[in-house]
C-alpha cells in the first residue's frame, strides 16, 4: 500500500460499490451517491500522494464522499430551498425509509435496485456495472456494442426513473424474490463476463475483482434460494469458467484459448464444486434453464484431460438444447465452434458465415472465422478476418493472441 496510485486503483476495485451503496442508503439517491463517490476518488488522487495513504482507505473514501454529498445537497438546497431535507439526511445516517430486506448486504440491495424489473434489461446491466462494478460508460458501451454517449444517456434515464418513480432501495421480501432473481442473474452473468474477458483496452485483460464479485454475490443469492435451479446453474457456470482463469493469460500477456491451455493449472477445487452443483441439478430431473445448460457444457470441458478427449458430441447436443432456450446469434456462433471439432472446420465455417449480418460488429465472430479459414488453408482470407477481429477486439491479451495467430 506504499504506492498511492496503486492504493487508489485497489481502493477503486475493492471499495467503489461499498462507497456507492452506503451513500445510496444514506442519501436515497443514486446520482448523489455516484457523483460523490467519483469526487471522493478524485480527491484521493489529489491528496494521497502528498498526505500518504490513509490507514483505512474505504472509511476515508466513504467519509469524504459523504461530505461531498452533503455539500452538494446544501448547494442544491440553497437553490431550491431544501434546507430541511439536507438537515434530515445529515442527522439520520441510515437514511429515510430503508426497510431491511431478506439479506443484509448493502451491495446486494444496490444490485436489486439497479436490476429492478421496471427498468429495461440493458439499463439494468449498465446501471449495475456503473454503480456496483464501477465501470465507466465507455467500458460498458464496449461490452454491449453501443456508443459511449448513448450508454451515458441510458444510465442517466435509468437513474431518473429510479428517482422519479421511486424505485425502492431494498432487497425484495422473500415472497417476491424468485420473480426478481432472473433479472439479477442476467446482470451478474454479464458482470462476470466483463471480468473474465474485459472489453476495455485500458483495463487488465482479466479483471479478477469483477469475476470474484459476481461469484460472491451469486453465492449470496444461492444461500437465499437454494432450490432455484438457475441460481445453482449460474454459480456452477461461473465456478467452472473461473477455474480456468489461471491458464488463460500467458506469461507474455496473451490470451490462451481452450485448446492451448495448460489444464494442470486449472483450479481443481472450483471444478469439483462446479461439477457437484451440475450433478445436483441433474439429480433433480427438472428441465434445465439457460445457465444450467451452459454449466453442463463447461462441465464437459472441465472433465476432459485434453482438447481431443473432450466429448464434443455431447457439447454439440447441449448447444442444440441451448439454441432452443436462447436462439441468439452468439449462441449459434459458439455452437459452430463446437461443430468444428465434431464435423470439421468446413461445416463450421458454413454455419458461421450465416451469422455475418447480426455479428459483423462482434470481434469473436471474425476471430472464429479467421481460425476456421486458417485451418482450411485459406491464409489470405484468414489474415483479413484476423485484421477485422483485431480492429474490433478491446481486450489487450486477446489482441496479442489474435496477432500471433494471424502471423503464424
Amino acid at each position: 500500500m506504499s504506492d498511492p496510485h496503486e492504493a487508489i486503483t485497489r481502493a477503486h476495485r475493492e471499495e467503489w460499490a461499498r462507497v456507492v451503496a452506503s451513500l445510496t442508503r444514506r442519501f436515497g439517491d443514486l446520482d448523489v451517491a455516484e457523483e460523490a463517490a467519483a469526487e471522493a476518488f478524485a480527491t484521493a488522487i489529489e491528496r494521497w500522494p502528498a498526505d500518504g495513504v490513509p490507514p483505512n482507505p474505504g472509511a476515508w473514501l466513504t467519509t469524504t464522499a459523504s461530505h461531498k454529498a452533503i455539500d452538494r445537497i446544501r448547494r442544491e438546497s440553497k437553490r431550491e430551498d431544501k434546507h430541511k431535507e439536507a438537515q434530515v439526511r445529515y442527522d439520520d445516517p441510515a437514511g429515510p425509509g430503508v426497510p431491511r430486506g431478506a439479506i443484509d448486504d448493502e451491495r446486494l440491495r444496490l444490485i436489486f435496485t439497479c436490476a429492478h424489473p421496471a427498468l429495461a434489461m440493458q439499463a439494468r446491466v449498465a446501471l449495475t456495472l456503473r454503480m456496483v462494478g464501477g465501470l465507466t460508460a465507455a467500458e460498458i458501451g464496449r461490452a454491449f456494442l453501443v456508443r459511449e454517449d448513448s450508454m451515458t444517456r441510458r444510465i442517466t434515464r435509468a437513474k431518473v426513473k429510479i428517482k422519479e418513480a421511486r424505485i425502492p432501495y431494498r432487497v425484495p421480501e422473500a415472497d417476491e424474490l424468485p420473480a426478481r432473481v432472473s433479472g439479477v442473474l442476467a446482470v451478474l452473468y454479464l458482470v462476470f463476463n466483463e471480468g473474465y474477458l474485459s472489453t476495455s483496452p485500458d483495463a487488465d485483460p482479466v479483471r479478477a475483482e469483477l469475476t470474484a464479485e459476481a461469484i460472491r454475490l451469486t453465492r449470496l443469492i444461492r444461500e437465499l434460494l437454494p432450490q432455484d435451479g438457475e441460481v445453482a446453474g449460474l454459480l456452477a457456470l461461473m465456478l467452472l469458467i473461473e477455474a480456468r482463469r489461471p491458464a488463460r493469460v500467458s506469461p507474455g500477456g496473451e490470451l490462451v484459448t481452450l485448446d492451448e491451455q495448460d489444464r494442470g493449472a486449472w483450479d481443481a477445487a472450483l471444478i469439483a464444486e462446479g461439477h457437484r452443483l451440475v450433478r445436483e441439478r441433474l439429480a433433480t430431473g427438472a428441465a434445465p434453464g439457460r445457465y444450467q445448460v451452459l454449466a453442463a457444457i463447461n462441465a464437459v470441458h472441465t472433465s476432459a484431460r485434453t482438447m481431443e478427449e473432450t466429448d464434443w458430441s455431447q457439447v454439440v447436443a447441449l448447444y442444440d438444447q441451448l439454441v432452443r432456450l436462447d436462439p441468439s446469434p452468439i449462441v449459434a456462433l459458439n455452437r459452430a465452434i463446437a461443430i468444428a471439432e465434431l464435423d470439421g472446420p468446413e461445416v463450421a465455417l458454413a454455419a458461421v458465415d450465416r451469422l455475418v449480418e447480426p455479428l459483423a460488429g462482434y470481434h469473436s465472430f471474425h476471430a472464429t472465422r479467421a481460425d476456421l479459414l486458417r485451418r482450411l488453408g485459406r491464409n489470405r482470407d484468414a489474415r483479413a478476418a484476423y485484421a477485422l477481429a483485431i480492429e474490433l477486439a478491446g481486450n489487450t491479451a486477446e489482441v496479442a493472441a489474435l496477432a500471433r495467430r494471424r502471423d503464424l
Partner: protein, 111 residues
C-alpha cells in the same frame, strides 16, 4: 408519493358487469388500505374535443388528439410509498379490470 394509473383499453366496449364487480371490489380494498385518491372512467375517445388556443383564436377540433388502436379508458390516482407497492397493486388492478395499466409517478420535487 402519488401515481397516475392509466387504464389502457384496446376493446371498443365498456367494462362488463363482471369486470365492474371486480373493479368495485378492488376499489374497496384500495380505500381500506389507504391507497385510494381518485378514480374515474372516461367516455369514448370519440367524445373528446381538442382545444388549441396558442394562436390568435381558440381552435376546437373533434376527436382525440391521437388516433390509435389503444386508448385511455379510465384512470386511478394512488397513494403508495414506492414503485414496488404501486406495481403490486397495478398487477392486481390489471387483473380486476381486465385491461393493461400504465403506472406513472407524479413529479414530487419537494417530497
Amino acid at each position: 408519493m402519488q401515481y397516475l394509473v392509466s387504464v389502457i383499453d384496446s376493446t371498443a366496449g365498456l367494462a362488463t358487469d363482471e369486470e365492474m364487480a371486480a373493479i368495485n371490489e378492488f376499489n374497496d380494498r384500495l380505500q381500506a388500505e389507504g391507497h385510494w385518491v381518485f378514480a374515474g372512467g372516461l367516455g369514448a375517445p370519440a367524445s373528446a374535443t381538442v382545444i388549441d388556443n396558442r394562436g390568435e383564436e381558440a381552435m376546437f377540433s373533434d376527436g382525440p388528439f391521437v388516433e390509435s388502436k389503444e386508448h385511455l379508458a379510465g384512470l386511478w390516482i394512488w397513494e403508495a410509498p414506492d414503485l414496488d407497492v404501486a406495481l403490486r397493486l397495478a398487477a392486481e388492478g390489471s387483473r380486476a379490470c381486465n385491461r393493461k395499466l400504465e403506472v406513472r409517478p407524479f413529479l414530487t420535487p419537494f417530497e
